[in-house]
Symmetry: C2
Subunit: 387 residues, 2 copies
């Protein structure tokens, strides 16, 4: 018996990820070099790369020439980057993340077009499309290079600049997914013009969220600029998105990007939001649900005397000014079973010990490991009557 054969072996290594988020307008106009320059910077050994383009078909209503503009844009770039046949339209919105067949048809497209690990998948659309296509890219050939072009406020300032992807499974939101950073993200302001008011507003909930837990000045800036934001001023929105994206990205890079721990500060307001999205069968937008979740956890923070009454009312007031509704009947339904289950599902998705982020003041968060249902109840009732 050779004792050496029983010594344990140890493996340790680091993986480095890098990506840039660009901000632009009219990305597919022939004279806009930003996307082209990215592909030029990626040239290796003179190889021609492929790019498979998938987009949120809703965009066609507002940008009827989108497909021809994209084809046009890539014309003349064939010496280093080639479109793989047709540009692929898919339905946008949460529904696409529930659709197993859609996922499979995209994986099939990767296969039939011979998209390999040094090819690119370019996804254009809202957060739902980016999550789905990101998941396809992450698991095909163990990872194809993903480029994102987010087209909603929420995806430009939060979901599209981060490192996660997912689809829903058996009625559980984001049950399947991976951590897989993109190789680049291009935020094109122009797309936001066509958003309906709900989606324009909805994305701002994530900016308020991140301001509340990290950046008091940003919260004040949003307060001061509420009317421009409400009136759909594109430059004001550009600033909100840029600052919010930066706060999210800095948090991810400096913390625990792949969430090996069980705390997730960026999920302030999200435990009840996830449950509300389901209970309303996604008639609530993610951001609308998050606004309600922020309101709930804000009032709860105040009831528990972590947060001052002034701060609490100021937060509710900003949400209201921006047009958010801060209560939903489902919060009171089912004899509180809804929120009870919501909390358990949230814990389960993160795993380990329950960790909920609350507010100490505007710009400063704190963590608790249990929630008290009597106080949740009082908070829900408070919101119900808040006008």
């Amino acid at each position: 018996m050779n004792e050496d054969s029983f010594f344990p072996l140890f493996s340790e290594f680091q993986i480095t990820y890098r990506y840039k988020v660009y901000f632009t307008k009219d990305i597919f106009q022939k004279d806009n070099p930003v996307l082209k320059n990215f592909f030029i910077s990626e040239i290796k050994q003179g190889l021609v790369k492929k790019v498979m383009v998938v987009f949120d078909e809703r965009l066609i209503h507002y940008h009827p020439n989108l497909v021809s503009e994209i084809k046009n844009y890539f014309q003349g770039l064939e010496s280093f980057i080639q479109l793989t046949g047709d540009i692929i339209p898919i339905p946008g919105g949460e529904e696409c993340k529930n659709n197993q067949n859609l996922w499979e048809s995209l994986v099939n497209a990767v296969n039939t077009h011979g998209v390999d690990r040094h090819s690119y998948i370019l996804a254009i659309g809202g957060g739902a499309v980016l999550d789905l296509v990101g998941y396809v890219a992450a698991v095909s050939h163990r990872g194809i290079r993903l480029v994102r072009i987010p087209t909603t406020v929420l995806s430009q300032n939060d979901s599209g600049v981060g490192v996660k992807n997912s689809i829903n499974f058996q009625g559980k939101k984001n049950f399947l997914g991976t951590f897989a950073p993109p190789v680049a993200v291009f935020n094109d302001l122009q797309f936001l013009e066509s958003l309906d008011d709900r989606d324009w507003r909805s994305g701002m909930a994530e900016a308020i969220k991140v301001a509340l837990i990290k950046d008091k000045d940003f919260f004040h800036w949003i307060e001061s600029n509420a009317s421009e934001l409400l009136n759909r001023n594109l430059d004001t929105m550009a600033y909100l998105i840029h600052r919010c994206a930066k706060l999210h990205m800095d948090h991810i890079a400096s913390g625990d990007p792949f969430e090996f721990g069980s705390s997730r500060p960026l999920d302030f307001g999200h435990w009840s939001a996830h449950k509300l999205e389901y209970l309303t069968q996604f008639s609530l937008r993610h951001g609308e649900a998050v606004a309600i979740g922020i309101a709930l956890d804000t009032v709860y923070s105040y009831q528990k005397q972590f947060l001052s009454q002034d701060d609490c009312l100021r937060i509710l007031s900003l949400l209201k000014t921006l047009g958010f509704v801060v209560y939903h009947p489902m919060l009171s339904d089912g004899e509180k079973q809804n929120l009870f289950l919501g909390l358990e599902e949230f814990r389960e998705h993160l795993g380990g010990r329950l960790t909920i982020v609350l507010l100490a003041e505007i710009g400063k968060s704190l963590e608790v490991h249990e929630m008290d249902f009597k106080t949740i109840d009082t908070s829900v009732n408070f919101l119900k009557t808040y006008l």
Copy 2:
């Protein structure tokens, strides 16, 4: 217009992975502390964790008490680790990686048992079972902690100690998968007793492979110990596995663990092996196909005058001594279309430029970026008549 809103943002971060590979015997005997100690070392904040156990049902033929032994082992550990109901048997062998329903039923089990990101999935079986279960663990909740107990030579010395998982899709081997290191691996020598001769032998192909590209001394050791290996001496095999696992792990940790580049030195002999596995509908074991692939690329290396005739014959002779067959009729079939397609599929799975590993001498590899079909042809004919 605020210019700041158009400054690109940059993200860069590192993720650190660590895991240990333990070597043991009779892991589920009550008095074997190695697995128990691992779970004890993982205790955090006194939380009770769950473990979902999935195993290769073939094992039951040889270890009829396996299930009760496992249940027994975990009894008394409930204060920190709990089995999630029944232990789940699944069919082993390549077939399980082709079975979409099996994959789905395991994801369902994760869901119904409330297995969360701080729970464990413990997979017991050959490389195929570990690849499938590893993929389930990697994409459920964006990653559940995976513990592997490999039960074949190949999975103990290669696949089970590495960082990859996968399933097959639409007839393409390993088309879906991720890079996802385990949290721990336990190589239990005892399991190897029940392997049939083909599986006992098959795994040795990976040891010869890694010896050929990295470790001349190890190649000599295998030569000197060929008859013990042939006669199924367990201690000799233990040493082979330990050294082979170490070579694989060191390579992964010091190189490009998640294969962002397009070179993959550990795939010596694999481009034709993958194709042969398919063409024979997996009647060839992975290791058997790799042995043929090694033989082909060895002869090719010699024909191209990279490798001496002595070394070439010595390699073929060792393969033969260990009972490997070094030729398969499919190599000559289809007017060479088979190998031609195999090469293209190999390039596509890795992506980018074709990179094939060949031999400069025993223990030393080199890379080429094209293969010459006339020489492949000559090499195939050489093997066909090699006795």
